[in-house]
Symmetry: C2
Subunit: 286 residues, 2 copies
């Protein structure tokens, strides 16, 4: 496995490979790998000639009060795990090489950032879209693989790639969960044992609401009220940041389920903010 730190070296290397006709996959990460990351790498490994993983804790997607400094890091372990997955290149640029002091150009998708996580994190997706645009231009991927846990991020990136004519296919892969249903996240290590014991109810609540839709309930207010009630009962240590039923692609809120819908939530424990979501497909309600 090759390690590349310099953006310019990464760009020259990837351009060369792509010009040789190879298919290149990129898995963009912020490191501290868990099974969710490794599943993306394994899927990508089977679908490309050259597998690149970027590891960059992107400062521009954290607000000043958020956990940039505390964000967990373990590069030696990550490098070993990447090597075991058959990664060809681990790209670990420095913050200084990615964002100059007078950085001024941003990629945004404002219409996708009116709800969900963007309400509490208004500059987050601008930072995400910008760094992913940079990574795409530095690694020339044929395909790029993202987890569906950050559904809004995935929607923003899909839209960016399409609207800016980036020659890359965006792949979303299912959420990987612990045995008890908690969506894997690098931030789960922040949880106290009591919080960790309650956190699986995030997913259980989502499943139960999907069950209600399968039984024919389509009113968003009724569904979200039921979810709120469940969360209050099962997770007394958590505060719900949002619970939303939205169009899966354009993310506008739905009052009534008439087609595919996404039920997405963010929940704050004292030590960690966790997100999760569940797709409510058309078929299950017919």
């Amino acid at each position: 496995m090759r390690c590349i730190i310099e953006p310019r070296e990464m760009q020259v290397w990837s351009t060369q490979k792509r010009c040789q006709g190879k298919t290149l996959a990129l898995v963009p990460t912020m490191g501290y790998f868990h099974e969710g990351h490794l599943a993306l790498m394994r899927w990508a490994r089977e679908h490309c000639d050259v597998l690149m993983v970027s590891l960059f804790v992107n400062p521009t997607q954290f607000a000043p009060h958020e956990d940039l400094k505390a964000y967990p890091r373990d590069l030696p372990r990550d490098a070993e795990l990447a090597r075991e997955q058959g990664v060809d290149v681990l790209f670990t640029p420095t913050p200084e090489s990615m964002f100059s002091k007078d950085h001024a150009a941003w990629v945004e998708a404002p219409s996708l950032c009116r709800g969900l996580c963007a309400v509490q994190r208004p500059t987050h997706f601008r930072g995400v879209a910008t760094v992913v645009a940079k990574l795409f231009l530095l690694t020339s991927p044929t395909l790029a693989v993202f987890g569906e846990k950050d559904w809004q991020q995935l929607a923003v990136i899909r839209t960016m790639a399409r609207d800016l004519n980036m020659p890359v296919e965006i792949i979303g892969r299912p959420i990987v969960r612990e045995a008890d249903g908690l969506a894997m996240s690098s931030r789960n290590i922040y949880l106290s044992p009591e919080e960790r014991a309650q956190a699986p109810f995030i997913h259980q609540g989502l499943q139960q609401i999907r069950g209600l839709t399968e039984q024919g309930e389509t009113d968003a207010n009724i569904l979200l009220a039921a979810l709120g009630e469940m969360y209050q009962r099962t997770m007394p240590l958590a505060a719900v940041e949002y619970m939303s039923l939205v169009d899966p692609e354009q993310l506008f809120p739905l009052e009534e389920i008439q087609g595919p819908a996404l039920l997405a939530v963010a929940v704050r424990f004292k030590t960690a903010r966790l997100i999760d979501n569940i797709l409510i497909p058309v078929e299950e309600r017919l």
Copy 2:
């Protein structure tokens, strides 16, 4: 000369050429070529293997009240002029193929868009940066050539290319002028004979102010007041939209000239809004 209309065909063609090791130049235009455009093409022709010219009247850089529909067009004449300059590919995409109805991703450089043209045209540079990002991704240029008349546009594009790691060199080329000093513009045809007779004073005023700086005047208020007085006297048919002395790269306003400075103006005649600028280099004031 090859004409390409389909974005995807353009992307495949240019990628292939770039992978063959050729240097590709792009001259992005909105058509209705004048000597300013042709000078960019001639310069580019001498500095690349493959010369591409895009001709696209970009709807997203016009506000609803602006002159999108009236913007002058003459594709057959433009194609002939491009051929005469040795252009290899003329890329003329349709608006529908460039911007889908639900287009949602934008490139912006807000810190460069607080003054100058952005005050009266607040969404203009977002449209420019986005379409140029798309054109770069569709044409894979090694270098891209722009006129310095639209200095703010050039600053935005330079910053975008640098900040998003686009593998393209941005070249700015001097303003091409009519014999009487009026900066060439596709919009000059809007001018009535009386307006046309006054318009050369835009450039004459800029030159006179640069003369004052050469004589040692460094106070922006004094310089701009002198320019305003001159414009009022020489161009009674025009209203000054702005006159600004700014940092040439970051475009923040200067109170005092202490290094290189850009003097930029926009002037409105009844029928046309014209812009012009002049660089005030350090050397001339020492």
